[in-house]
Symmetry: C2
Amino acid sequence: MAVLVQKYGGTSVGDAEKIRHVAERIAAAHRAGNSIAVVVSAMGDTTDRLIDLAQSISATPDPRELDLLLSTGELVSCTLVTMALREIGEQAVSMSGAQAGIRTDTAHGSASIVDFDAERVQQALDAGRIVIVAGFQGVTHEMDVTTLGRGGSDTTAVALAAALGAERCEVYTDVDGIYTADPRIVPDARKLEEIGYEEMLELASYGAKMHPRSIELAAWYNTPVLVASSARDVPGTLIHEIAPSGDGAPSGDGAPAGAGGPEEGAGMEVANKVRGVTYERGVARIPLRAVPARPGIAAAVFEPLAASNISVDTIVQNASAERLTDLSFTVDSSDLRAALQVTEGVAGAIGAEECVSHDNLGQVSIVGTGMQNAPGVAAVMFSALAEAGVNIEMITTSQIRITCVVDEAQVNDAVRTLHAAFELAEG
Amino acid sequence: MAVLVQKYGGTSVGDAEKIRHVAERIAAAHRAGNSIAVVVSAMGDTTDRLIDLAQSISATPDPRELDLLLSTGELVSCTLVTMALREIGEQAVSMSGAQAGIRTDTAHGSASIVDFDAERVQQALDAGRIVIVAGFQGVTHEMDVTTLGRGGSDTTAVALAAALGAERCEVYTDVDGIYTADPRIVPDARKLEEIGYEEMLELASYGAKMHPRSIELAAWYNTPVLVASSARDVPGTLIHEIAPSGDGAPSGDGAPAGAGGPEEGAGMEVANKVRGVTYERGVARIPLRAVPARPGIAAAVFEPLAASNISVDTIVQNASAERLTDLSFTVDSSDLRAALQVTEGVAGAIGAEECVSHDNLGQVSIVGTGMQNAPGVAAVMFSALAEAGVNIEMITTSQIRITCVVDEAQVNDAVRTLHAAFELAEG
């Protein structure tokens, strides 16, 4: 009997009617002969409402207290889904994160799963029951409740699928799959039938709807993840290990990748290496110019930022003159003020010339596993943006991604330009 | 350093402002040099709202699922009170029932505490922290969350006080103490400075605001309980062991109680034995007439009622003729239909003549430890009711209580009549 893990997001369980609909879907999958474990998020905007409630008491609620408070949202939805299943004659049982065996570290607010002993879930499945697990939460070894951060229910679902050795983890949400670009910006964006873990990881990091940690976890355990719509019965996108094909080398260990690789021209061959375009808004950039180049500069900048709990997105360092270097990094716009405060304190100490921030930025990225062996890809990207009049403030690359920081107002144009340039609508 | 346990009810933590007020009170008690553990109920009507939510999914929600759902209400309030305390500079920490060490049996919906290992609470108190415990909940040995039934937070508080060997359990609520009668009915009802456990138990069973199990527990561990107002700073009522005085014999083990005892007249001496008048509405009575008297009749009636989870309040059996007996019992009005269904099924089998229910009843009780040795008390009660034109449908007595079932419309009159007859306003 195949074990399936299904995950339903907050909109999918937003009210009693939707919960009944979800129960019908789960029951259908169970009656089709599968062993089913389900992970649910909190109903609708419950988490936001609980945060508001906490902030009506304290502007900076204690993280441990906030976690216990927030964890109640998923307890409510998981018991309601269980009741709905029992109401239609299914043997269902709910489990909190603790009951399901999810142990985490003590990083309240964004805890990591350190152990998942799914024995109790497995026993219930073996007894023919459908198990509904509260997403987003776990417990420390002290039995303190933790939460896994926003989108943490995805992580719960993938970790549960891995712990159960499930055939597949199905993530049901309000979108019906992963697209080559955001369809709200690019009308002819195409839904992908499949995508590799690393590609999805880059897409997820830069705007798409799955929590990056859940993708890393799925890749680590090689658990296929299907992203599909909970409302409509249309095929979704399967995130799984995609075998390398043709001249595109895999990015895994031992692959003959590197700076070299076969030479290619631009055009169709280049386009085939790009899987999708993604973007982010609300980016702020802090450049530190003419910093004397000596060991420890980066640490002097980023350690106090980390200590202030400010998440730095991308970092670029460039020598600007002999023994001088330029250092730039981006943060979420909402963190800009705090980041500037920290950086200005450090700038003097490290001898940086100026510390001026650029706000109202965004970034666009192209993502694809084969990119690193196709040198033409970057050139196509930059010239397409230039032709569209989009100025590039900053460039960063990974093995399978090229990201340009651009003016926030030009993000949509940039996305549409790149989608067309790489012929993504054509598949 | 004295250990105090405080308990705040749902109205006391009904919104952010009230929570801040409660935090101030707790902090004041802590700053006064006490070691403080606090138990809180769910905010305002949270529990009712969660029940409505469950019933929008299922008319008969699974008890285990309902318990996990309902337990979230107290998690929310206990984390918010903790945040409010931290906000005003107190070291506070919240604990769920499970974290506080409350183990219960598996009777979901009305579980009993079987073990309370308060070590974690004690450690936190020893470290100078204020501990806020979610009331109303515990866990089974399987780590399934249970609830202790309505009013179960009182039980949590008293059990915590007992487990910690606390000096006192302070129950803060929207009333400021225990009165000789409901002040809404009897304007000159008097607040009692103190009351014995058994007396309070009878008062609590018949309408007053503390959960009977919590009083039993307090009596068992001899834990003094102060019932007082969370809004106003006025003296409350102390529920504790009251030494027997004068000719009134104590009701405890080994006391020279019994059918005999010193003879007394009615009047002032009789009045002094009565501590208060209490009442209940919404009572229904089911009489089974002319049942052939043979062993096993009562079991044949009450076992199926228990199996249907119908709580029977009082039972009266009276021989009506040779080998025939009349059996009457009362249930909550809301259970009447279900109870009748069960009883009608049984009535034929046991040969009962008729099975007609009387709805729209209430009951009035007088309560006092010394009553069993004051034969005049019952006579004063019955004649006072007769003079007031109140018809008595049924009478039951315990060692320290006499209860009359009367017409629901006459409950207020009966309470006022008895309060005056026993001169309770005068103290």
